[in-house]
């Protein structure tokens, strides 16, 4: 438990260009959250909504204009803008972080 908790979620620098992030998730797909690159109030809000490392998130739809999209996070549907969700990195299918 404590080892898991002490995982530092911060990542130095920006994500790799081809980073697998939440914005790339199509409706119906789900994935595990890797790291949050979001800062400030939204970071706090997302964490409070339960979007911590390892959480399974499913994209359940897009708004008619294509952005924002709706995500199923711990039983609740939350709408996020692509600009924000692009900063939420995902672990790849093997369940491991793409970068250390």
């Amino acid at each position: 438990m404590s080892a898991e908790l002490s995982l530092d979620m911060s990542i130095a620098g920006a994500a790799p260009a081809a980073a697998y992030n939440l914005a790339g998730l199509r409706p119906g797909e789900s994935a595990r959250v890797g790291a949050l690159l979001v800062e400030g109030a939204l970071r706090r809000r997302l964490l409070d909504l339960g979007l911590v490392r390892g959480t399974v998130v499913k994209c359940v739809g897009k708004s008619p204009a294509g952005d924002p999209s709706a995500y199923l996070i711990r039983g609740a549907v939350i709408a996020l803008r692509a600009g924000d969700s692009a900063q939420i990195l995902l672990d790849d299918e093997r369940g491991e972080a793409q970068w250390a």
Partner: protein, 717 residues
């Protein structure tokens, strides 16, 4: 007990909505995530009919009411919905300050059984502040429909406090909640062991040490608010500036100047730094621990068979679908207006006839007993104006508000924000502005207060300044009757109602377009900035409580708005009668004023009377037309509102053309907000400058559009 504006409201000035606390009352806070049916629980417990809506962040002001358990009498405070005690919206600060420093004897945390895991975060945080907590798991009926089962006894065991499962819309299910409240309010109450969040060991160690010395350093034993030292230590270590400022206010001491505390904090932070826990890593670790614990508890207590949001996703394909969303929104809008226009016709006529009889009775009563001028002043001035306002306003409101509330209740309104977020973002604003805009259709003052749901101050101000650009319920009846008179023809019936609804929808689209345009203009000039982030919860679609929607919207909204309009109309009716009946140099004051304004008004396609009516109608938009008619009728009293054809004849006789009608419609749509809205804007922004701007923007827009229309029509003619 510190229920002052400062301690309860923080920056948002909330405390004035609390009722007086009687000596025997226990103060109980009602907390919970947004949209968990908190207000329904509140209504069921207090019987005070407060409005609830099915979209996150509806309760913008703390409401309060008295309730009774078998053993205690309570003052129940409904605090705004909050996801966390750590977070940062204006509403959440109000909630946090009340729960942490409000001096409540107990806290009820209402949870949504269908989204329990997310809700447990707030429960765990509240349990760190106080152990006198009752967890109320609401919406068990919705959960059952989604095949979700919650193990209530197990949850109570894990949390160490009473947990009750309820379905708040069936008030008889709330009895266990009252018993649980008696249990935690009892002086001898002993909470069980709580499975608190497990923070990193280094943090727990440092926080515990700090908590030993805090009571001494801060003189906590003598301070009025009871604050848990361990919780306080965590918050001080976390160094949340907003919370520390509120804490300093609650304790009545200058924390930054407390040398002992600063020393202890410095030492503690060094210890944490050595363990790699500083700044963001520290706050991440805290939230992470809470979320993990919530996850573990939910895993043991919530059993779900099947996909819980399947139905919502299916419905969203229709209401938020790529091709269906916008047509559906427009159709819905037009449908609401059509129902309002058609449905309001007959009751309006009936009311008008009824008030006509009432006037005869009143005349008979007064006649011969009071001087004739007093009779005229009261009957022809005050009574007729009030009667007009009621008969024109009540029926559309009594139809529009319930329809609107119904849309709220089923959970459609957050989807409007979701659908419209992109256009708003392109104007560098927030999609939640769509919600406050929708509230503005009901009442602009309510819309302005509703802007508190928008987190970013810049975006909140944008929403406040543009709210009056959409017509409120006080302006709808005028828009509808002018449309019916000049644009639809006298055919009457459902077909005319349909074209009126269509035209009205066109006007609404114009006002929404103006909202976007002005928002963008403001974003590029006085309120420059980039759109902030956006995280909006889309609640489950729920079966609406039709009967309670009817009762609630008629009682809370319709009668409230009507009452306010009558309060404004009565003195205005008196003033206008006086202006119209005091003879000055061969005319009345009213005609002189109108003549004075005439040349100016003519430039904008209006006439002096119309402009004067708008100016005198500042207290309430509903009385603009009555004033106009009163002015046109030289006799200085209001005409009978029953016959639209008579009104049209009167307007035409006074030089109205199609252009005049168009310009009046436009000016009705865009002019200064009513007095109530202006006062509300001033209260919300605490600035004369922004209030003035909020009045100047729609006025300038309206005058500009009228000028263009008038110029064009002169060009064509």
């Amino acid at each position: 007990m510190g229920l002052t504006k400062d301690s309860v409201g923080g920056g948002a000035r909330e405390g004035d909505t609390l009722l007086k606390r009687r000596a025997r009352d226990k103060l109980v806070a009602l907390a919970g995530n947004p949209n968990v049916g908190k207000s329904t629980v509140f209504n069921a417990l207090t019987g005070l009919n407060q409005h609830t809506g099915n979209w996150p962040g509806k309760t913008v002001a703390s409401a309060s009411g008295y309730a009774q358990t078998p053993k205690h009498s309570l003052l129940l405070a409904d605090v705004p919905g909050a996801y966390s005690l750590l977070a940062h919206s204006a509403e959440e600060e109000v909630a946090r300050n009340f729960i942490c420093f409000g001096g409540a004897d107990a806290v009820i945390v209402v949870c949504d059984a269908t989204r329990l895991e997310r809700n447990l975060n707030l429960v765990l945080q509240t349990l760190e502040v106080t152990r006198r907590v009752v967890v109320c798991v609401n919406l068990l009926d919705e959960a059952a429909k989604k095949h979700i089962e919650v193990d209530i006894p197990q949850l109570s065991q894990l949390l160490g406090v009473p947990v009750v499962g309820v379905t708040a819309r069936e008030p008889q299910t709330l009895t266990p909640l009252l018993d649980a409240l008696d249990e935690v309010l009892d002086a001898a109450y002993q909470p069980g062991e709580t499975a608190q969040a497990a923070y990193p060991p280094a943090l727990e160690e440092v926080a515990r040490r700090l908590s030993y010395v805090l009571p001494g350093i801060l003189n906590l034993d003598e301070g009025a608010p009871q604050i848990d030292a361990y919780w306080l230590a965590l918050r001080l270590l976390e160094n949340d500036a907003g919370l520390i400022a509120d804490l300093a206010r609650a304790l009545g001491q200058d924390i930054a100047a407390n040398a002992g505390l600063q020393l202890a904090l410095k030492w503690s932070r060094e210890c944490l730094q050595a363990a790699g826990l500083s700044g963001r890593a520290l706050s991440d670790a805290i939230v992470n621990a809470l979320v993990r614990r919530a996850e573990q508890i939910a895993a043991k207590t919530v059993h779900c068979r099947g996909e819980a949001v399947e139905r919502d996703v299916r419905l969203d394909k229709l209401f938020c679908g790529r091709f269906s969303a916008y047509p559906f929104m427009l159709l819905g809008l037009a449908g609401v207006f059509w129902l309002t226009i058609i449905g309001a016709n007959y009751p309006s006529e009936m009311l008008s006839t009824l008030f006509g009889r009432g006037q005869e009775v009143l005349s008979d009563l007064l006649f011969g007993h009071v001087p004739i001028w007093l009779h005229d002043m009261l009957v022809l001035g005050v009574y007729r104006t009030v009667a007009w306002v009621v008969s024109v306003m009540l029926p559309p409101m009594a139809i529009f508000f319930p329809l609107f509330t119904l849309l709220e209740d089923v959970g459609y309104l957050p989807r409007v924000a979701y659908n419209l977020d992109k256009p708003f973002r392109l104007c560098k604003a927030c999609g939640k502005q769509a919600l406050t805009m929708c509230m503005g259709f009901g009442c602009n003052a309510a819309g302005v207060i509703g802007c508190r749901i928008i987190d970013s101050p810049r975006e909140r101000l944008l929403a406040i300044l543009t709210n009056s650009l959409v017509p409120c319920n006080g302006r709808f009846p005028t828009l509808i009757s002018l449309l019916t008179l000049f644009c639809v023809g006298a055919a009457g019936g459902a077909a005319a109602g349909f074209s009126a609804a269509l035209l009205l929808t066109g006007l609404i689209i114009l006002s929404v377009a103006a909202t976007f345009l002005v928002t963008r203009l403001l974003s590029d000039t006085v309120l420059a900035g980039e759109p902030s982030s956006f995280a909006l919860e889309l609640p489950s679609y729920r079966r609406p409580q039709i009967l309670s929607v009817l009762v609630r919207s008629v009682l809370d909204r319709t009668l409230f708005v009507l009452g306010r309009a009558v309060l404004a109309a009565a003195p205005a009716g008196l003033l206008i009668w006086l202006l119209a009946n005091i003879p000055v140099a061969g005319g009345s004051l009213l005609t002189h004023l109108a003549a004075f304004l005439d040349p100016f008004a003519a430039v904008f396609g209006l006439d002096g009377v119309i402009l004067l009516a708008f100016i005198l109608g500042l207290p309430a938009n509903e009385i603009v037309v009555p004033i106009m008619l009163m002015c046109y009728l030289a006799e200085g009293t209001l005409v009978d509102a029953a016959s639209l054809a008579d009104i049209k004849a009167l307007l035409l006789a006074n030089g109205w053309t199609f252009t005049t009608a168009c310009c009046t419609l436009i000016f009705m749509l865009f002019h200064w907000p009513c007095a109530t809205t202006l006062l509300t804007i001033h209260k919300e922004t605490a600035s004369l400058k922004w209030t003035a701007l909020a009045a100047a923007i729609p006025t300038a827009l309206g005058l500009a559009l009228c000028f263009i229309v008038a110029a064009l029509s002169r060009l064509i003619a």
